[in-house]
């Protein structure tokens, strides 16, 4: 579904990604893990077009994504839930979801998606008319994910959904993501610092270090790899 090949990208003259390649098959849940500053967020932004690609290729369902304007990419069926949530604070919860459904597909599926979103995140239904800026961190994260889902995407890209959340809330978010992946038949590409959770639920994973993909494998392969443990606890 998504193929990234030899992607180099970065800000100005500072390259952050160095020939990164990865593949996400339809229906998979793929995790990208790695230390802070490894380039995980930059990878996502390059796929979305916010950070310019300097070399390499990104293909989505066979189409050359780099040739598509950044704001046109969501219309192809990609939803990017950015790091740090980035909800629209002055818009209400419902308006945020409507903005999620800005794509044609999102508008067609609006009634269904809203119903499902409210089923997955009942708190959003309760707070539908509140400005998003007034929600708690966990609620904002739920809104950000829900906003991504409202576009009825085929690929959902989640950048650190657990960031800044308490373990309980993070666990809750994770369970929803897994449920959504299963129920909505959406492909998920996940960047996460909670390695264990991410790898447990993922079909496959990639480890990014200093802008390079240094390790890849299935869940079992990665879980057995001591380098993961080393990378995170230095043992």
């Amino acid at each position: 579904m998504l193929e990234v090949e030899g992607l180099c990208a970065g800000y100005g003259d500072l390259p952050v990604l160095d020939r990164v390649s990865l593949r996400v098959g339809a229906g998979e849940l793929v995790a990208v893990v790695g230390p802070n500053g490894a380039g995980k967020t930059t990878l996502f932004k390059a796929i979305s077009g916010i950070v310019p690609a300097q070399a390499g290729a990104v293909r989505f369902e066979g189409d050359d994504l780099l040739a598509v304007a950044p704001s046109a990419r969501p219309h192809l069926g990609i939803a990017h839930v950015p790091e740090g949530r980035q909800v629209f604070p002055s818009l209400t919860v419902l308006e945020n979801l409507e903005m999620g459904a800005y794509t044609a597909a999102g508008r067609r599926a609006w009634n269904d998606s809203l119903e499902r979103i409210y089923a997955w995140f009942p708190v959003l239904a309760q707070r539908a008319t509140a400005p998003a800026g007034a929600l708690s961190g966990g609620q904002q994260q739920m809104l950000a994910i829900a906003r991504g889902l409202a576009s009825a995407p085929r690929l959902l890209m989640l950048d650190e959904p657990s960031m800044g959340l308490s373990p309980v809330t993070a666990d809750e978010i994770f369970e929803r993501i897994v449920a959504i992946h299963a129920q909505a038949a959406v492909t998920v590409l996940l960047v996460e610092q909670r390695v264990a959770e991410a790898l447990h639920y993922a079909d496959r994973g990639y480890v990014l270090e200093a802008g390079r993909a240094v390790l890849e494998g299935t869940r079992d392969q990665l879980a057995a790899d001591d380098r993961i443990r080393q990378a995170y606890l230095g043992m």
Binding site: S71, P82, F88
Partner: protein
């Protein structure tokens, strides 16, 4: 005492009526600032263009009495809206989009200088081009309404009565209606919501599939059009010339900052307050100091409450 009450009420009325039109002008500027984060120095000159569009449209309409001589100036002001909208879109596409928006953010921190000086350049071209096209002699739109008034009162036992200028009242009513229509557009329509989303967080807006460049262009077009309508409304009670924009760009910025940069409702109230301060100051200060009073109030509020009277503390810089 009665004398003072009367002048006070008179100034209050005049302030509210001009303030409503200022408010409309401020809303246009505030939209541009809120969505694009650009200080547009050419705003007053687009307003000037709007005044001249209204002036010529009035000339064309005036002959056809079917419209009624009384209402023609207001129709002319409304015509200025779409005309200036299109010129705003063109200016944005040809010039401003090259240094703002997604492309602008790639520039180094000096990027915002470029926007600023670009709008200054555009302002110079418009002002002086206007001088060539329209001549330097002040013109105005004559309407029978601007020289007639309703008398309120006598109030408080015959001693106090207030005259309400009919022309200004109609202008204020149209301004208020335009603001309400615009607020409805921003809060109800998909377009309005997408503009607000782009203002809140341009990056996230792109993730939603919103074309932020286009949102900026539309905001610029709407912003100058709204201000131009305000200018057109003002044109029937004040004479103007091609340099009129300079005076009003200051009034507009004062209003917008008062209301809190980027807030539409705040901008309207800010403009209203500027109108009130301007008129009420005549009670205590000589006429020439009207504008000084505006700037003093403006400075005081900016220094005491930089987020504006109605803004919240959170702001993007």
């Amino acid at each position: 005492m009665a004398q003072f009450v009367e002048s006070f009420l008179q100034a209050l009325t005049a302030g509210l009526l001009t303030g409503a039109v200022y408010g409309l002008m401020c809303v246009g500027l505030s939209l541009i600032f809120g969505v694009m984060r650009v200080i547009n120095f050419a705003q007053g000159d687009f307003m000037m263009l709007g005044m001249y569009v209204a002036f010529y449209a009035f000339g064309l309409l005036g002959g056809h009495l079917a419209f009624g001589a009384a209402m023609a100036p207001y129709l002319a002001a409304l015509i200025a809206g779409p005309v200036i909208f299109l010129s705003g879109i063109a200016v944005h596409r040809l010039l401003i989009s090259r240094v703002t928006g997604i492309r602008g953010s790639a520039l180094e921190s000096e990027g915002h200088y470029a926007q600023l000086i670009l709008t200054l350049g555009i302002a110079l071209v418009l002002q002086n081009g206007g001088l060539y096209a329209f001549g330097s002699a002040p013109v105005s739109i004559a309407t029978p309404l601007s020289s007639s008034a309703w008398e309120l009162g006598p109030l408080a036992g015959d001693s106090v009565s207030v005259f309400v200028n009919r022309g200004q009242t109609v202008a204020a009513a149209i301004a208020l209606a335009a603001v309400l229509a615009f607020v409805a557009l921003m809060s109800r329509s998909r377009l309005g919501k997408s503009l607000r989303a782009a203002a809140d967080n341009p990056e996230a807006a792109i993730y939603m599939g919103i074309d932020v460049d286009r949102a900026h262009r539309l905001a610029f077009g709407f912003g100058v059009a709204i201000t131009a309508i305000g200018g057109g409304l003002l044109a029937s009670s004040y004479p103007f010339q091609p340099y009129v924009g300079l005076e009003y760009v200051i009034v507009m910025y004062a209003g917008v900052v008062l209301g809190g940069l980027g807030s539409v409702a705040g901008a309207f109230l800010g403009g209203l307050i500027i109108g009130l301060v301007q008129q009420l100051s005549t009670l205590f200060l000589p006429n020439q100091l009207q504008n000084t009073a505006i700037f003093v109030v403006f400075l005081a509020i900016v220094l005491l409450r930089p987020q504006g009277l109605f803004g919240t503390a959170a702001r993007r810089t």
